[in-house]
């Protein structure tokens, strides 16, 4: 019987660059910035690393294929290194590789590093990639963008739960206002200013019904983690953060092609989170989780995640949102670092950036954004679009 990963792996060091439009930095600079912070935080040297995982999604506008750019940039001494890619869940995928490698006992110390240099395309939004769904589907798929693919979830959610566009958009606006409030306190965040509900409501539409402030930042950045086997962790630091659960769920094609799925929730999130709670021994997430960083690529994504994680009842996330349940001083603060919305979203780095915030919060180092006595932190990292995607869920604790 498989035992799962609970308490077998500890994170002993993390690094994260300033996210944003880093016009003056290339992907190599960003990797080095995150890496140096991570090894200094762990108190190790480069030679102590046994194996590495590199996460990048859009290699076309970033560092290129393979793990060679990581190894060659950091001058890793001929150690095993692997590049992983799983759409926007790439950063979590890199961390997953490193975690399982130390959990297997194959290595003592592993590095996971995610990086993305998005602001080299010459236009806004994510890079245009006609063939990202495959070459035959390219001929048989709308010329969609991520905002559009998630906007359809907004349209459907509003219709399914009887919300007028104004009511729906207003609930979503609360989410973005909350994340901007948190992000404004984060020196590493891409977007650091408070906004109002009215600003969100009046912003230009990007993809109906989502407006500008319903969409996350498109950013450059990198983040890194150093992991070790749990029994070695205290040798490095007194406050390592332990992996309690690590789950990933990938669409079966059923959502896109079989008419049962409602396009008002994300099936993989439901699957990954159920398994993660079971692995971590969490019975009631609403009562037991202390905080979380979820994949708020768009406000509607965050709203449905509340329900898919089993925290807010189906169709009623709006009530929790408006009651401040997910605010920094609420029952389960969500996106204490500003989330993808404000910290930014350099694809390959995002999963690791989420973990960076949970790690710092658990260690009590989050400054003005510090959540009181956190016990369990959850990260939810989603890649793809609602009908076809990858969701990775980590639960970590002290």
């Amino acid at each position: 019987m498989a035992e799962g990963i609970k308490d077998k792996v500890a994170i002993i060091g993390m690094g994260c660059t300033q996210f944003g439009e880093r016009w003056d930095k290339g992907p190599q600079d960003l990797m080095i910035e995150a890496f140096i912070e991570a090894i200094e935080d762990a108190g190790i040297e480069k030679k102590d690393i046994n194996a590495a995982w590199s996460g990048t999604c859009y290699e076309e506008v970033s560092i290129g294929k393979s793990a060679i750019p990581l190894a060659a940039t950091l001058k890793l001494p001929f150690i095993p290194a692997t590049r992983v890619e799983n759409f926007c869940a790439t950063g979590s995928e890199a961390l997953r590789g490193a975690c399982y490698a130390v959990a297997a006992g194959a290595y003592d110390i592993c590095l996971a590093l995610g990086v993305e240099k998005l602001k080299d395309t010459g236009y806004g939004g994510l890079p245009q990639n006609d063939t990202q769904m495959g070459t035959s589907l390219r001929a048989a798929f709308p010329n969609f963008t991520p905002p559009g693919a998630f906007a359809m979830m907004g349209t459907r959610y509003f219709a399914q739960y009887g919300l007028s566009p104004d009511e729906g958009k207003r609930a979503l606006a609360h989410i973005s206002v909350k994340s901007h409030h948190n992000g404004a306190m984060n020196p590493k965040a891409h977007l650091r200013r408070e906004i109002t509900i009215e600003q969100v409501m009046n912003a230009p539409i990007v993809a109906w019904p989502l407006g500008l402030f319903d969409c996350c930042g498109v950013s450059d950045g990198a983040a890194a983690a150093i992991v070790t086997r749990a029994e070695l962790a205290k040798k490095f630091r007194p406050d390592p953060v332990y992996v309690k659960a690590l789950q990933i769920s990938v669409s079966s094609g059923e959502e896109l092609m079989f008419t049962d799925w409602d396009y008002a929730h994300v099936e993989t999130t439901v699957n990954a989170s159920k398994k993660a709670y079971s692995e971590a021994g969490i019975k009631s997430p609403r009562e037991e989780l202390s905080m979380m960083e979820v994949h708020d690529c768009f406000s509607i994504t965050e709203l449905t995640v509340y329900e898919d994680l089993g925290i807010s009842p189906r169709g009623r996330a709006k009530e929790d949102i408006e009651a401040g349940f997910y605010d920094l001083d609420g029952k389960i603060p969500c996106q204490p670092d500003g989330g993808l919305k404000c910290f930014g979203h350099p694809i390959g780095a995002s999963g690791l950036r989420m973990m960076y915030e949970m790690y710092k919060q658990l260690q009590g180092k989050a400054g003005p954004r510090q959540v009181k006595n956190p016990k369990f932190g959850l990260t939810h990292n989603m890649g793809g679009i609602p009908p076809v995607n990858v969701v990775s869920t980590f639960i970590v604790g002290l």
Binding site: M153, V206, E254
Partner: protein, 481 residues
């Protein structure tokens, strides 16, 4: 008896008022003003997609495996090499055991294809031949042609059983009369002086062909219920019939002020309009124009009553939207080179080998249906997508293009590149099962809602100018009528 067994037509949803064109460019050529409006193809339509639409209207439940020929007539083939009729046949999911040909380079090619289809069936070499005629011609901005040319298509099925209008005879004339021409390197038609065209060509050849036919079969104008011939000049059109001895009521309405001169499709579209009103026993005389003329003599049978249920000309004419701006028109026709932004410039190469392998899925919109659980699914699957089934390799091909559907959800995307923003797309659930994400076209965002019925329409998906690719796929549209 051999003749027409079914008919269909297509007029694009959009119209542009000729005053709108004149308002934009009339200052260049003050004498170019014409009355009425003309039909204009949407940005994702061309002669080929309109031909498919008219053919879908014409098929109207016909068993497709019975069709053993498809002729496409147009002067605006998207491809000069790669048979356009073959693309239409694949889109219609016709059998590959079929003869296909493009009839082109003259606007009388529509009647040419019709006569050839008749000959094929009459000779016994084919049983059911589909003729599609379609055109989407460009007049140079500011010129007279730009006001004249309209876009549209017609389709006729020729066969020897269930004939609604038998072909009783024909008479053809061919002259190298160069009134309009377009060389291989030209985008727009060139033209000689109007007065010469009117008096020496248009005014003579139609009359000559009709007279030739009347003499050949010992008939007089009084024998015909309707005479159908295209309009190039409104007054000259009336004069031709009058001079031949036809009464006003016998002359089929030319629709010139409603759709314009639709080139190769024009005569056949007018014929479809005549058939919509025809009664058993009616005799119809059809004559085309273009480097001569073909005259055809048809006799309507009692079967005509069975062919009423289709959109044809009448319903398409009634369903229209004003395009509003000339700038939109020239953008849609790729006359105006717009700034697509960096996102619009990034077009990945099209893999012909993939298109060949997946031709039924992409051009034919065919998925599969599980023999075990009955679930239709798209794209075609080997392993059933129904989680309660999961059967492996128990699939039959299943066509979605002719299924009604409803819009499950949608968006209007400003970020995605589209020549007609916002890019509207959504998830479409088919009646009977199956779903997929499709672009939605011929629609405005504020007229769309969750749950609305939609139907499928064959459209140009993208035009990769740098690689010479017109890529086609299906989109969803609100139910047109």
């Amino acid at each position: 008896m051999v003749g027409i067994t079914s008919y269909g037509a297509y007029v694009p949803l959009y119209r542009i008022n000729r005053m709108t064109i004149y308002g934009a460019l009339g200052w260049l050529n003050p004498a170019s003003l014409l009355p009425g409006e003309k039909a204009v193809a949407n940005y994702d339509e061309d002669s080929l997609t309109m031909a498919v639409a008219s053919a879908m209207d014409c098929l109207n439940g016909t068993e497709r495996e019975k069709i053993d020929g498809l002729f496409f007539a147009t002067t605006t083939t998207p491809y000069r090499e790669r048979q356009n009729a073959g693309i239409i046949a694949t889109a219609l999911d016709l059998s590959p055991e079929i003869r296909t040909s493009d009839f082109t380079a003259s606007i009388k090619a529509g009647t040419g294809a019709l006569i050839s289809a008749y000959d094929a069936v009459a000779s016994g070499s084919a049983k059911n031949v589909m003729v599609c005629a379609s055109d989407c011609r460009l007049g140079k901005p500011g010129g007279f042609q730009e006001e004249i040319y309209g876009d549209g298509a017609a389709a006729l099925l020729l066969g020897d059983s269930g004939v609604i209008a038998s072909v009783e005879g024909s008479y053809s004339l061919s002259y190298d009369f160069v009134d309009n021409w377009r060389a291989a390197e030209d985008k727009y038609n060139r033209t000689w002086e109007d007065r010469w065209i009117r008096d020496e060509g248009y005014g003579k050849f139609i009359s000559e062909a009709i007279s030739g036919l009347l003499n050949k079969y010992k008939l007089t104008p009084k024998d015909f219920t309707k005479v159908v011939y295209p309009c190039l000049y409104v007054r000259a059109h009336a004069d031709i019939g009058k001079r031949l001895g036809f009464e006003d009521g016998q002359i089929q309405d030319h629709m010139f002020t409603a759709i314009g001169n639709t080139g190769t499709a024009y005569t056949l579209m007018m014929l479809v309009a005549a058939l919509e009103e025809a009664k058993p026993g009616d005799k119809i005389l059809v004559a085309s124009y273009g480097n001569g003329s073909d005259a055809i003599f048809l006799e309507v049978t009692g079967e005509i009553e069975k062919a009423r249920k289709r959109r044809g000309i009448k319903e398409h004419l009634a369903s229209k939207k004003d395009l509003g701006s000339y700038e939109k028109y020239v953008t849609f026709r790729e006359i105006l080179t717009i700034d697509t932004g960096g996102r619009g410039e990034e077009v990945a190469p099209t893999q012909q080998s993939t298109l060949w392998r997946e031709r039924r899925m992409i051009l034919g919109l065919c998925g599969s249906k599980c023999r075990r659980c009955g679930t239709p699914q798209y794209p075609p699957q080997e392993i059933c997508v129904n989680p309660k089934c999961g059967a492996i390799g128990e699939m039959d091909s299943y066509r979605f293009s002719d299924k009604r559907a409803s819009l499950f959800t949608y968006t209007g995307d400003i970020l995605a590149f589209s020549p007609s923003p916002p890019a509207i797309y959504g998830m479409v659930d088919f009646e009977g099962g199956g779903r997929w994400l499709f672009d939605i076209t011929d629609a405005e965002l504020d007229s769309i809602e969750v749950g609305m019925p939609v139907e499928m329409s064959f459209r140009r998906k993208y035009h990769d100018v740098s690689r010479g690719i017109h890529a086609y796929y299906w989109k969803a549209t609100p139910i047109r009528v």
